[in-house]
Each structure stands twice: as structure tokens, then as C-alpha cells.
Amino acid sequence: MRLALLALRNLARNRRRTAISLAVVATGTAALLLTAGFMAFSFEGLAEAMIHGGLGHLEIALASAAEGRTATLERSAAEGLDDWQEVQARVEALEGVLAASPTLHVAGMASTDSGRSAAFLGVAGDPVRERRMGFSVKLRAGQPMAEAPPREGEDQVMVAQGLAQVLGIGPGSRLTLLAVDPDGMLNALDVTVAGVITTGVQELDTRFVRLHLGSAQRLLSTSRVSNLLVTLDTTSRTETMAARMGELLAGHEPPLAVVPWTARAPFYAQVRALYAGIFWFLGSIVFALVVLATSNTLTMTVMERFRELGTLRALGTSVWQVAALVGLEAVWLGLLGGVAGDLLGAGLIAVLNGIGLEMPPPPGAVDPVELRVLVVPEAFGGAIVLMLGVLLLAAVGPVLRVARLRIVEALAHT
């Protein structure tokens, strides 16, 4: 005979009440799993979207440009890399590196033949490498710009839909880009709109332009690039590869910085913090609900069995043994409820992912988001541990009650 077994049998006495308690625990567990799974999906989706939307896993830039400005997505060409091709070759020779693609940032004004003009933020790159890196462009109209370096007079751009709307242009339209080169001098370049794209971010869509590196270098009269963006075979290797690249590029003059994508995306950290806040808030509600519901159950269990507990004490059961008996009932509720919640959560995740629901675009985004919930193994274990903790907390009151029990009064209890 074991106390644990006795506790389990006690739970089986009032099956209906135990079933309700288990349902509460299981529902709470499943809710936490779904939330954690959705968060994981959101984080992963956001991370991959940012990495393959143009951030890359790592950035190699001049240390002077990156210092204190790791978060910025814009790097002045004035602080660009001159010998970027050599650095690119060294980095691409590393195992685990998909590609190191040069980018050149350019800001200025875009104007049309009809006299409309608007400020633009341009990012120029090497389309061949970007394709290899899995950089995605969401094309809305027209076609991607040519991958080969453009000849003079044949420069093309991809214009974000908001900017295209402001300028009243579409595929095939002509634009003149005006920008300030690294020497602080104005320059202009005629370009043809190859396609209209979306960045997925509303604000950026009103200003964004993608160019071929060759076009941007022509506009800025430079052979430099702002930085090299490196993508890896897996996101999880970001930190170790950053360290390896840091060692590889150690003696470079001027000094280079290897910046992980997370440092350049404060937005990601903010979203994580926001989601974490929501998760903890929701978790607290679930926690409170489960504590209240199960605490009530456990209290009732104790109240109903006062005489029985008194008898146990009379027969020589110690205070802690009786308290442990009640505590073990809580443990069983937490354990069984947690396991049931894991099963329920896994089932719901399978169903939700099977249905393929879509959510409206989040604030600031353009496209609807597919609702997917990931299976987070740690969450499945963690939820059970959490529920055990919750139930133990819920058992504190009843256990204290049992510990203070007076045998004579308990025996007289009807």
C-alpha cells in the first residue's frame, strides 16, 4: 500500500468531481500549449520572414558603421566596404554559409515624367545570390527585375505598392531616381519599373524600392557596398557562425563587425516581449482559474473526509503523512490533468493546422497570416510541470487545514 495509491483511489471516489477538476486542468494545459505553439509559430515565422525578407542571418559591415547602430537597417554608402568581393569570397568559403550577398542602401527622391515625386528608400542587391539565400520578394504586378547586372540605360527597379500608388506608376513606367552619393553630391538615374512588390509592412511599402546592385552603384557613383548579408543553412547556427566569421575577419582593415540579425531587428525583440507579455498574462489567468477550481475541489475533498482523516490520525498516521495524502491527490490531479491536456492540446493543434485558418493582417502588415500552431516539446513537458506546481499551490490551503486538524473534533465530524 502506498500513499500515492491511496490518494489515487481517493480521487476515484467522486468521479464526477474529479473529472471536472481534470477537465479544468486539461483545458488550462491545452490553452497554454496552443498559446505557446502559436507564439512559437509567430516567432519562427517572423524570424524567418525577417531573415529571408532581407536581413540575412548575419551582416558584415564596417565596425565604425555598425558600432552603436546595429539596429538600423540603413547603412550609409559613405561607410561602406571597398574590398567586399574579397570578404565575400572568404565568407562564402565557410561551411554552413549559403551565400554572402552585397547590399547597398540608397535614399532619395523618385519622380515620374508626369511630375509626381516621392521620397524613397532603396535596397540594392545581387538577385542571383539573393535567390540562393532564399530572399523572397512578394510580387504584386509585373515581373522580377533581370538578374544580370544592368547595362547603362537599362536599369530596372521593383517598386513597393504604396510608393507605386503615390507615384501613379506600374510595370513598364519610367522613373528618375535622385540621390546623394557618398561624396555628398547629387546624382540622378533613369530606371524602368519591372514589377510592383510588397514588403509586407505598410509604412515601408510607401517608400521601398529594390534595385540591382549595379544600378545603385551607378546612382551613387561608387563601387562600394553598404554591407554583406550572410545567410546560413540553419538559423540556429547564427551565433556560432557569427563567432567564426568574427575570427575569420579579425585582422581586416578597417575593422569589420559581424552583426546577428536579432541585433538589427529590435522589432523582433519587441514582438517577442509583447507576445511574452500576452503569454504570461494569459498564463496567469489560466493559472488563477486552475488554482481556484482545483483548490475548491481539494478543500471539499478534505471537508468531506474529516472523520476519515481523523481516524487515520487516531490510528497513528503522522500529520505530514495525512498532509502528503492530500498533496498527492493534488499531484495526481496535476499529472493526469496535464497529460490529458497534452493529449488534448496535441489533438487541437492537429485539427487547427489541418483546417488551415487565416487571420487578418496584423497591424502594419499587408498580407493575411495563416494560423499555424507549432508543437513545442518543451511546452508539453513544461505544462505538466506547471500544472503540478499549480495544483500544489492549490493544495496549500487544504493541506494546512489537515495539518491543523484536531483528532477529537474530526472524529466527531459528521
Partner: protein, 233 residues
């Protein structure tokens, strides 16, 4: 040197607060119970029978007086020591049987042995033996709700005796039984007392039961009104 009495109570007094008033349940009770002795504590309701049994069973502490069990002063014991003492040296039988409903008859009887740390095999053997002694050798696996009132009380008696205590304290053991069953239970108690050498202190106001005991202590208003030895009926 003669063995010390199982119970040696001197001037036991116990008061309870009942609302605004204080009830004096016991007002200086002296009682000595020898080893293997069987006595009934008789008296009307409210005379202090149950209170006396609670004090003798170390379930409660006297406000005044002293109690020595097997020569050991209970006033010197803490809560943990009293619990251990009960576990090893005393057995209890209650009016309402107080069996654990989730345990089988055998498991209920095993309980004191389990608490005493007896190994599973020995526990089972002794429980079966105890149940056989009370005539329930074939009802080992039955849960209390599958047993009659008399059977339940016999399980309770087996539970009280299985760990071979110094004394069994029985509070109205036949109070919830019909007269026929009560008589049978009483027969069993008398027989077990004789066979086991365990002292029995039985609180009751059942005349049939009172008549079966060799010694009768009568309580009235918390005092010993009579302590007579008699020839059991």
C-alpha cells in the same frame, strides 16, 4: 516486580468551551486498568465516556490530572511521540466503524501494520489472519460498502488488534448494530480479549454489553460513580 497497569489515570479533568459556557466533561477521574483486563465504561450520554476514552487514547490532552500508559507519563509526550505511541501500542474501534472506504477489508486491516513499517508480505499474512480470527477470512477483498454493519465492525476490530496493541479502546462499538449483531460482536470482543491478552476499554450504554464485561466503571457528570467487578453474563 508486577507489570505496570496499562492505564493509570489520576484526577483526569477535561473542560470544553461550548459557546459562552464551559462544559466540564471530566472532573477528576481516577482509573487503573491492568494488562489484559476488559472493562466497560458505562453511563448515560454526556457522562464523559467518550472524553475519557479520548484521553486514554492520547487523542486529546487532559486539563488536569495525569495519565500513565504502560508506566509512561503521556504528559511528557509531544504530538509526534503520542502519534507513534498510538500507532504501536493502542487500537481503536469506533461506533461508526471508520473504515477507509477506498480500501478493501484486508487493506484496512493492513493499515496499522503499514504505518508501523511492517513489510508487505508479513502485513498481508497478519491481516488475513486477523480477519480470519474475526470470521471474515473469505471477505478479504471486499470494500466496506460491500460489507454489512457487523462485518464492518469486525473488520474494525481486526484492524484494532492486528498490530497486537497493549489496549483497544472501543467507543460504543455496538451502537450502530442491531442487537443480534451487537451480541455477536461483543462475543468476539470478549473472546479476543481472552485470546490476545489485550486490554479492552469499551465505552457503552448498551446494557447487554455492560453485562458481558467483568468490570464496570460507571461515569456520571464526569466523575466515577461506580467501579464494580462482576461476573460476566
Amino acid at each position: 516486580m508486577a507489570a505496570p497497569p496499562v492505564f493509570d489515570a489520576r484526577g483526569l479533568a477535561k473542560r470544553y468551551r461550548l459557546g459562552q459556557t464551559t462544559v466540564e466533561a471530566l472532573r477528576g477521574v481516577d482509573l487503573r486498568v491492568a494488562a489484559g483486563e476488559m472493562l466497560v465504561v458505562a453511563g448515560p450520554s454526556g457522562s464523559g465516556k467518550s472524553t475519557l476514552l479520548h484521553l486514554l487514547g492520547t487523542l486529546d490532552e487532559p486539563d488536569e490530572g495525569s495519565l500513565a500508559i504502560d508506566g509512561i507519563q503521556t504528559s511528557a509526550m509531544g504530538e509526534r511521540a503520542r502519534t507513534a505511541f498510538r500507532r504501536a501500542r493502542l487500537g481503536f474501534v469506533f461506533q461508526t466503524f471508520n473504515l477507509l472506504p477506498v480500501l478493501s477489508a484486508q487493506e484496512n486491516v493492513e493499515l496499522p501494520l503499514w504505518l508501523a513499517g511492517v513489510g508487505a508480505r508479513e502485513r498481508r499474512a497478519r491481516a488475513r489472519e486477523a480477519l480470519a480470527e474475526v470470521g471474515l477470512g473469505t471477505r478479504l477483498g471486499h470494500r466496506p460498502d460491500q460489507l454489512s454493519g457487523g462485518e464492518r465492525q469486525r473488520v474494525a476490530i481486526a484492524r484494532a488488534l492486528v498490530h497486537r496493541p497493549l489496549a483497544v479502546l472501543a467507543d460504543e462499538p455496538t451502537g450502530n448494530l442491531d442487537s443480534e449483531t451487537a451480541a455477536a460482536v461483543m462475543d468476539l470482543v470478549v473472546e479476543l480479549n481472552r485470546a490476545s491478552g489485550t486490554a479492552f476499554v469499551v465505552a457503552t450504554h448498551d446494557p447487554a454489553l455492560i453485562a458481558r464485561a467483568p468490570r464496570r466503571v460507571t461515569l456520571r457528570d464526569g466523575r466515577v460513580a461506580g467501579d464494580a467487578r462482576q461476573v460476566p453474563a
